[in-house]
Structure formats: structure tokens, C-alpha cells
Point group: C2
Chain length 391, copies 2
């Protein structure tokens, strides 16, 4: 877009729109005068930006603010509840999930459908699931401002380079599904959701155990993706290098030794519900399976802590459900293997979001994108564009 | 210092001094007029700063610059060859090393003394070694501007929290040796030396194998020390979790499996020189020992690359000498264990500095400290102070 208009003017517009919308998101129910004070912009500039944001239904005008002194009462503005929503889709190995969030990040609708996605038919299935989720938004009378897709694999510039548990290599979802999406690793989306809506910690590693094991690393309130964007991969950390073969071709990888499938196999349980019931009733086999997995997880995570000196581990996904049995042996292994825990303790905490984190992060990333650059949304989402993109 | 004078004035002084000295370091042999152009400061400000830097012998006046146009020829200035030098001391497990560098970072003197430092007498020994190194500087007629000490352990705010191979816990070298030092992990100093004087890579992990194995991680031309400063620890990555016990209390740590002692043991060699001779003559046992170590090193480093997506491994210390035999099997293991190498290759390169990197980094860090904040040096290093600190 930047090339199509004078750069200076566009940059200032872009900056001011983001500044005003950010101030509205941070302090909903503020008047234009309050926004001018909060942003340092003139009232005229704020009003002009607010009017454009209202026209695009990013912002809605509410009740006049309460009188706190002499003078005219201002009309307060907030993020619009009917404005663009973020739609998140998660392609799990054995489920599809969708989540629709409004501009405040609040969940408006969500759905999970279980099915083995290790099939070439997965793309048709995802397309149908996506259409259904869009219809759900239509039924709620809200527009979809963008779609984020979480995948259990390595993503480079929107291309799914490798998703071993789905059997994917170099899959272009824009091409396969038809449309424009924000595609990212599910563990990274989950860590972002945890940062936005869960723990208040500024630095943590979020580890989620499903069929695969993903980690999202947050340093100083930002996702750490490594030098070239493929960082944070812990599923294939070698925790038992001479162990059984993993789907990736190596041996004894963390997810082979401590993933959901291995825990269920060791515990002789068919589902996570069954496993949790067995754990609650004190079943020795189930407890031993989780303790074994905790040991392997501790070996893998000790590496993350030794390398990055991260002060907290957040247990997400299936691990969140297993936390009461996982936490203690995991912490013990970490303390045994991380010398600096002697003076810099590490915490292990349970994710507040659990298995829904990744899809919520995918939906939320759409919203964060709009809030960070509303000007881009304003110039690309005229109603006719939206129709052309959606149908 | 900042509290003892008006903060505003001090900050401006500090900033201008660093700016001018930095420009001199970047372009030695520049006139005051050239410095004014390079820094954007007025000629009067530049002249005042340069005069103070000359008085402190941080900068020396040279020949008049070559005439390139009409007008008076300026006198060129450069970093002073007789100005404060950086003294680095490395406390290795089985050696002590010293290195003296001038303000340009060039090595003026160095020494290595072999002896087993796993003894309580180590502090007396280091004191004597430090005195000797200072005398060497006296003999060269140059002042020591500061001392950096490299240790094979975890350092927190100058305190050596843990150096398992020396048997140290919570050792305060300032107290034990008497003096003020910049103390840091040897692997971090080595990585910095590699960044300053070796490879031109912006992102790499420098791994050095001695008795212990240390790694220094450089991201975007800066040392990555983790959230709380204890990051980059790879010596105790578990590469064979059920393997033989390590000095740290855990099992099968990287340094237990791929450190110098284990390689020598497997190769039935007494010294690294002997090992290299055996390798050069194609000795099967020696080759097999190095290949085994390369496999373990590959397991450990695959973790670093999977987590941080670092594009290069620099082999330092003893590994630099073993590079011809280590490189190929290490790269093979990395490619097997790092899925992203399929589209983002990783390089393995030999350090240009080898075993001298850590002590050179320790010496260089003193110089970098002076260049980054010359004002601090000017106000703390009057000749009388220097005498009081040195004796």
C-alpha cells in the first residue's frame, strides 16, 4: 500500500490511527478530549481519526461520559462490538477447532470437531469447517476481519514447511484453501494467547502436549521466534537419543517420549478423559506413565531453561489437564538439571486457557493486527472488498 | 557517579565523549573537522572533548592530515597506543592465561601457564599471575585500564555462583583477589572475541570444548545471556540422560560425553597434541573418539538450533583444533536432528581465535567498556587513583 500514496502522509495517518485506536482499546469509554490528552494529538486530529474509525465500525460511540467538572460532556467511544472479528482455525492432528473473537479479544463463538486429519481429504474438511465458522459469524451479524490458522508444524513466511504429524511438507494453505490467512505454528499462537489473556508473566515458555509437543517462548512480552523464525521447536529435542524412532526420522525425541500418545500408551488409556479418571482414582499405571513423561519433559525443558534462563514454564494443552500429577516430578527434574535454579528458581504453572489457547491466539492475532495498523484495515476492507474476499 | 553531579550535564558530557571516541575508533587518523562532520557536534565541542581525551591519553595527536583542498590542514587524531590497556585473565581448569590488548583491541602481550587449578591454592596462584601480568604492562610502559576475568562457570552480578569443574560455589573474586574486575563466563567472553575479531557472522553459537563445554550465543551482533543472565549454558545439556554421572550430579551431560577429558580417554591419548597427531596419522581409535564426541555435540547443538534457529556454529577452543575431523559428523547429526535445515541450512565453521578467544574477550571487554563510556574512565582514572588501585 505504501507505494501508492505519498509515504510521509500515509505514515503519519497510519501512526495516528494506531495511536488513537490503541488508546481506545486501553481505556474503553473515553471521550475525544480524553483521547487527545492520552495521545498528545490535537482534538481536531483525534476527532478526524475517530470519525474514520467509527465509519469503519472499529469504534462505536456510547453514552455521554459522566460529568466530572464544568464544561460540555463528551461522548465516549469504545471498540465496536459489531466491528471486525478475528476468526481462528486450528488444524490439529486429530481435531479442528474454530474461535471467533471480537475487537476486545472476547470469545463470541467456538467449536471443536474431532477427526483424524492425517488424510489427503483434510483440505476439503478444513474448507467446509471454515465456511461453517464464517456462517456462524454471519448469524451473529458480525464481519470477519481476517482468519488466523494454527498448524502443528514449522511455518516460514506463511508456508507450512513441515508438519510431520500431518505428513505435510511445503503446504501453501492460501492456495489449498483459497484465501488470505495468517498462518503460524500452533505453539506460538498458544503462547501469545497465554500472554494476552492468561498468565501475567513477562517471560515464560509455554509447552503444550497434544500428539506433538510444541513450545512458544515469550521473552520480555514478545514471542521469541529465533534468528530466522523457526525457533522454539522442542518437540524434537532428543531426550533419549538411543530411544525408539520418532516420526521425524531421529530417535527418542521429546514428543515421542512424552507426547499424549506415549502417555496414553504407557497408561493403557484410550483417551485423555480416561487417563484423568485413572489418575484421580490413584491408578498406579497412570501415575507412573505421567511421572515418566514428566521426567522426559524435564530433560527437554531443562535445556530451554539452561539456554534461555526462562523463569517460568506454563503447562498448556493436555499438560494443563495433567498438571496436578505432572508439576512436581517435572519441577524436581528441572531443579536437578538446571544449576542456576540454586539461586534463580523456576516456576511451573498451569495455563489458564488449556487446549483452547492456540485457536484463541490465532483469532486474537487477527485483532492485534488490526489494532496495530488500523489504517491498513481501513484501506483494504471496504464492504465490497470484504464480499469479494469472503465468497 | 551520576548522582554526584547535575545529571543533565553529566549525561550530555558522557554522550558526547562516547560519540567522539567512537568516531575516532571507527576512523583513526581523522581531523577534528572530520569528527565534527561524522558526529554532528560543533567543532568547538569536538575540540573540547578531544583535548580531554588527549589529556587522559585515550587519544593521541598524529601527523597533520593530507591537504585535500584549500584551508588550514587539521591535525589527525587516533586511539592512543600508550593509552589504557585491557588486561584479560582466564582461570581455566588446567591453565591460567593472560592477554593484554591496546585501545584498538590488538594483542600486546599474552601468556599461558598450565597447572591444575582444582586446588584451594588457586587464588594465590591467580594473584601472583595477575601481578606478573601487570608488571609486563609496566615493562611495556602502558597503564592497565581494567581487568576482565574469564571463569568456567555461571556468574551473576560479578559473583561466581557455580563453577563445578573448579569446585567453586559463590566465589567473590573481588574479595578473594583484592581489586575490581569484570568477571564473566569464559564462553561468553570467547563468543564476544569471535564477534569482535573473528567471524563476520551476526548470529552464531560459539562452542568451546575444554574440560568443560561452554557456549556463547550471539544474536544480532549482541551476546544473548537469557532472561536473567544465566543463559547459554550447554555443558550440562542432557545428551545421554541415562549415561554416566557428571560432576554436576546429573547423568550424561554434554560435557561428560563430549568434553576434552572424555575424548582423550576414548582416544587413549594424554594430551590434545597427542590426539591431533594420532588423528593426522589416521589412527582409528582417535577418529572413532572424535566421531563419537561429534555425535553427542550434534545432539546438544541441535537443541540450540531448534530453539533459537541460529544459522551458524563456530567451533572454538580445543574443538577448533579438532575441526577437520569434527565438522562433517557434527553437521550430519545437526541435519538429521534439525528439521528446518531442509530449507534453512546451518554452517559449522572453525574459530579464527581458537583457545585464546576467552582471555582475549576478557581483555577486550575492558576496552569496549572504556570506549562505550570514556567519561567514566576520565573521572575514575586520574593517575593517583590508578596507583592506589594497582598496588
Amino acid at each position: 500500500m505504501i507505494g501508492t500514496r505519498p509515504a510521509g502522509q500515509h505514515t503519519v495517518r497510519q501512526h495516528n490511527a494506531a495511536l488513537v485506536l490503541g488508546a481506545i482499546a486501553d481505556g474503553p469509554g473515553t471521550s475525544r478530549a480524553g483521547l487527545a490528552a492520552a495521545t498528545g494529538l490535537t482534538k481536531a486530529t483525534v476527532s478526524s481519526v475517530v470519525d474514520r474509525l467509527i465509519a469503519a465500525d472499529l469504534v462505536a460511540e456510547g453514552e455521554p461520559e459522566q460529568r466530572v467538572g464544568p464544561g460540555r460532556r463528551g461522548t465516549v467511544v469504545s471498540l465496536s462490538p459489531t466491528g471486525p472479528h478475528g476468526l481462528g482455525i486450528e488444524i490439529g492432528v486429530d481435531y479442528l477447532a474454530s474461535c471467533l473473537v471480537d475487537l476486545t479479544g472476547a470469545v463470541r463463538a467456538q467449536e471443536v470437531r474431532y477427526a483424524d486429519n492425517r488424510t489427503p481429504r483434510v483440505f476439503q474438511r478444513v474448507s467446509a469447517f471454515l465456511r461453517k465458522a464464517r456462517k456462524q459469524a454471519d448469524a451473529l451479524g458480525v464481519p470477519v476481519g481476517g482468519v488466523g490458522i494454527a498448524v502443528p508444524g514449522l511455518v516460514e513466511s506463511g508456508l507450512v514447511r513441515l508438519a510431520p504429524n500431518l505428513g505435510w511438507r511445503d503446504v501453501d494453505l492460501a492456495d489449498r484453501l483459497g484465501g488470505t490467512f495468517t498462518v503460524a505454528n500452533e505453539a506460538n499462537f498458544a503462547a501469545l494467547a497465554e500472554l494476552w489473556h492468561g498468565t501475567a508473566l513477562p517471560d515464560f515458555v509455554h509447552v503444550s502436549g497434544e500428539i506433538g509437543i510444541g513450545a512458544g517462548i515469550v521473552l520480555d512480552r514478545a514471542l521469541f521466534e529465533g534468528v530466522r523464525g523457526a525457533g522454539g521447536e522442542i518437540g524434537h529435542l532428543p531426550v533419549a537419543p538411543d530411544g525408539p524412532p520418532c516420526s521425524c526420522g531421529a530417535n527418542g525425541c521429546l514428543e515421542r517420549m512424552a507426547g499424549q500418545e506415549e502417555i496414553l500408551r504407557l497408561a493403557e488409556a484410550d483417551t485423555v478423559d480416561e487417563l484423568v479418571s485413572a489418575l484421580e482414582s490413584g491408578d498406579d499405571g497412570a501415575l507412573s506413565a505421567v511421572t515418566t513423561a514428566a521426567g522426559h519433559l524435564g530433560v527437554g525443558l531443562s535445556t530451554v531453561v539452561n539456554l534461555m534462563d526462562v523463569p517460568a514454564v506454563v503447562l498448556g494443552g493436555t499438560y494443563a489437564r495433567l498438571e496436578p500429577w505432572l508439576c512436581e516430578p517435572l519441577l524436581a527434574e528441572l531443579e536437578r538439571r538446571v544449576p542456576s535454579t540454586a539461586w534463580s528458581p523456576v516456576r511451573v504453572v498451569r495455563s489458564a486457557l488449556g487446549t483452547g489457547a492456540a485457536v484463541r491466539g490465532a483469532a486474537g492475532s487477527v485483532i492485534r493486527g488490526i489494532l496495530a495498523d488500523p489504517e491498513h484495515h481501513l484501506t483494504t476492507h471496504s464492504p465490497s472488498d470484504q464480499d469479494a474476499r469472503d465468497r
